[in-house]
């Protein structure tokens, strides 16, 4: 499945096994998006959070 990048309009491929909450990256502009919802034929993206100072283990 493909989805248009909200930043630059390029196509972002959404892997078949991707789940809600996963991050996808636009191959053209490098923008990160979180999969907000996913159904059989429809996927919604929202801008992903940027890496926080407290991210990690």
């Amino acid at each position: 499945m493909k989805k248009e990048c909200q930043e630059c309009g390029a196509d972002i491929s959404i892997p078949e096994d991707a789940v809600v909450g996963e991050i996808v990256t636009c191959p053209d502009c490098g923008g990160d998006f979180e999969i907000a919802t996913k159904a059989a034929d429809k996927v919604e993206l929202k801008p992903a959070e940027t890496v926080g100072e407290d991210w990690g283990q």
Partner: protein, 286 residues
């Protein structure tokens, strides 16, 4: 059958592996976005459908920590507990917990102003390692090899806006091979141990920094030390990091709360997410 709830704010390899493993084991599981949860002091456990046991997997330390406080307020069992997460999330508190429990750990000195930090560094002599007390993936960890750089880094920290940057955590530099050991502890069990080798042009061994994983033998000494370190911070599912000090043998330098295991899973023969799910189900039954 117990239902496991995996709370995330960003789904990584680990969260997918846990969810898939639960389903494979026939354990009911759900994934819930931490960013979508709101709690009030008047909330009741019955207001939420979060299963019987919660695995807190938020990548943001503070989000995970304080959401865990709320979930424990609601009487949900959470892995890890607020207490374990709080200790592990702070290197200063972790070092104190390790030392208090007589677990071999690198000598760590603490100062609370730039002046005393510089004085402490000068008196001790270099090399040393300056680490932020809160932080992960090796961010802000500086090897201090000469006095000029050491003073400059302390000065930089002094100018930082964060009050935490002005707490100085200075550790001896351990003479070790170019690797450390990560033990994945689940309850009373060391599920796997790996060596983490520094990536090219890198001194830190974090897999997030390009470090490479290789299977390490779980010796009796390693197992004993990792379990004791896990217990010292309150137990649960943790990643115990150790270094092989050429002079003293194994020393524990860190215990990680929301342990990442992608590197370990790529080389381990043991079922890491499987052990975690079994542990969660066990907690739910208690």
């Amino acid at each position: 059958m117990a239902e496991v709830c995996i709370i995330y704010d960003k789904v990584r390899f680990e969260e997918k592996a846990l969810y898939d493993k639960a389903l494979e084991k026939g354990v009911k599981a759900q994934m819930v976005d931490a960013k979508g949860i709101t709690v009030s002091t008047e909330s009741k456990k019955s207001d939420f459908s979060l299963g019987d046991v919660i695995m807190q997997r938020s990548v943001s330390h503070y989000r995970g920590l304080y959401l865990t406080a709320c979930l424990e307020f609601l009487d949900f069992p959470v892995i890890n507990t607020f207490s374990t997460a709080e200790i592990c999330g702070n290197k200063l508190v972790t070092s104190l917990a390790l030392a208090k429990n007589n677990i071999p750990t690198p000598k760590t000195q603490l100062a609370f102003s730039a002046e005393t930090a510089i004085e402490m560094i000068r008196k001790t002599g270099l090399p040393l390692v300056l680490k932020p007390i809160v932080g992960s993936w090796g961010r802000g960890v500086f090897p201090l090899r000469d006095e000029e750089t050491a003073n400059m880094i302390v000065e930089m920290r002094e100018e930082n806006d964060s009050p935490l940057a002005r707490i100085y955590y200075v550790q001896e530099m351990i003479d070790r091979p170019p690797r450390d050991v990560r033990c994945i502890v689940v309850g009373e069990q060391v599920v796997t141990a790996i060596y983490r080798y520094s990536g090219e042009g890198e001194w830190r061994t974090n897999v997030a920094r390009g470090g490479k994983a290789e299977l390490a033998p779980v010796t009796k000494e390693l197992e004993d030390l990792a379990l004791r370190a896990a217990k010292a911070v309150g137990g649960g599912i943790v990643g115990v990091d150790l270094m092989e000090d050429k002079a003293r043998g194994l020393v524990v330098h860190e215990v990680n709360n929301t342990v990442e295991f992608r590197g370990a899973a790529s080389v381990s023969v043991n079922d890491i997410p499987g052990a975690m799910i079994d542990y969660a189900v066990g907690i739910a039954k208690k």
